[in-house]
Subunit: 198 residues, 2 copies
DNA sequence: TATTGTTATACTCTATAACTATA
DNA sequence: TATAGTTATAGAGTATAACAATA
């Protein structure tokens, strides 16, 4: 049996946020969906910009996740490695704050990467409460390989666009993104507080 | 303590897929990230098409989730309502298959919407194992309101684009989407089997 | 008394598989 | 024996808050 008492004001999980259903599908016409049984109609791509960006964006992120698997690296772990690389010696919680993660979640995240020898914690001498986080040489190497994978995917994705089209696409998306607050440095999925008010 | 024995071959959760970190951030240069402490640099938008689409797409879906809250409707529930509307009287598991959900998950989903009076189950007379699912008048009304919300968001998102630019954007994204398998009818986040092989 | 990092805990979402009732 | 739907269960991911060490 299901508890259905309250409409739930809680923080939405990533899964909830992403299963956006097919909200833009009606934008073509007022029929709520293509006729049942007509498989061809159901294959017709959506004409909603919002729906299309979020759906394809989801597929791209999932694909990247798969591409990263040979490295044994989760996208979130990669995000952490990169953040550490951007300022080695930062305190654990400073990093957590920067990428919008609660400190308690950082612990396990850093643990696994430290166990794999990709980064290391050192006690800060001036404030012995704090852990300064550093990349290991191996961490730097893995970071480089992940970089190469990202570049490859980008090239595959945009391979058939010429430079002008690619620039055009980036600018058009950016103009759409303004209305949800362009997520600047870190992927919007990494933190839950990046939403603009609109 | 964390079990870090295996690199995890399991099905990634939506959260894992989405927290793509900032994989495209390096595409501008080989520096793994803007210099620490330089807040202005960290605000600089990414120049990676893949990163940008997935990050903004995430923000759009999350925003839509928020916009839907006054209706007390989750995006996934909306997806179900719409699918039911596209073929009323379909069996529960037929719908599940169509939107790529395991039958067991359909149960609670239909339960909550039935409890709220938005749809109803009727026993199929010819096969009394099957539940035919129908919208109620109230369900139809909520569907209409959700539709209006989706249209509003689309207009806000693309308000400053003219028709030509909007069409251009859709086509450019579609050309990128080909490489991850364009999710046609349902949002890629709704099912886990929509990935193309590339 | 406040802060860094850690651990404990409780809650949600999920897939799998066992179960029932019909066929 | 197979299928539609349901329920039970176990696992992962998460946020919150209590905790220890240090300031």
């Amino acid at each position: 049996m299901i508890d259905n008492s309250a409409p739930a004001t809680k923080t939405p999980t990533a899964a909830e946020q992403w299963s956006a259903g097919s909200y833009g599908a009606w934008l073509e016409n007022l029929e709520p969906a293509p006729a049942a049984g007509d498989a061809a109609d159901r294959q017709r791509p959506m004409r909603s910009v919002g729906f299309t960006i979020s759906s394809i964006g989801y597929a791209i992120a999932r694909r990247f996740h798969e591409l990263l698997e040979p490295l044994g690296l989760e996208p979130r772990e990669l995000g952490l490695l990169r953040t550490v690389a951007s300022g080695e010696g930062l305190a654990q919680q400073t990093i957590a704050e920067r990428i919008g993660l609660p400190p308690s979640r950082m612990v396990a995240l850093v643990d696994t990467l430290e166990d794999r020898g990709l980064l290391e914690r050192r006690r800060n001498r001036e404030d012995r409460r704090a852990h300064a986080v550093y990349l290991t040489p191996q961490g730097r190497e893995v970071l480089g390989r992940a970089f190469a994978i990202a570049v490859e995917q980008e090239q595959r994705l945009t391979g058939e666009l010429n430079d002008e089209e690619r620039e055009q696409l980036l600018q058009l998306i950016a103009r759409v993104g303004v209305h949800v607050g362009i997520p600047p440095e870190f992927h919007a999925g990494m933190r839950h507080s990046a939403m603009a008010d609109e």
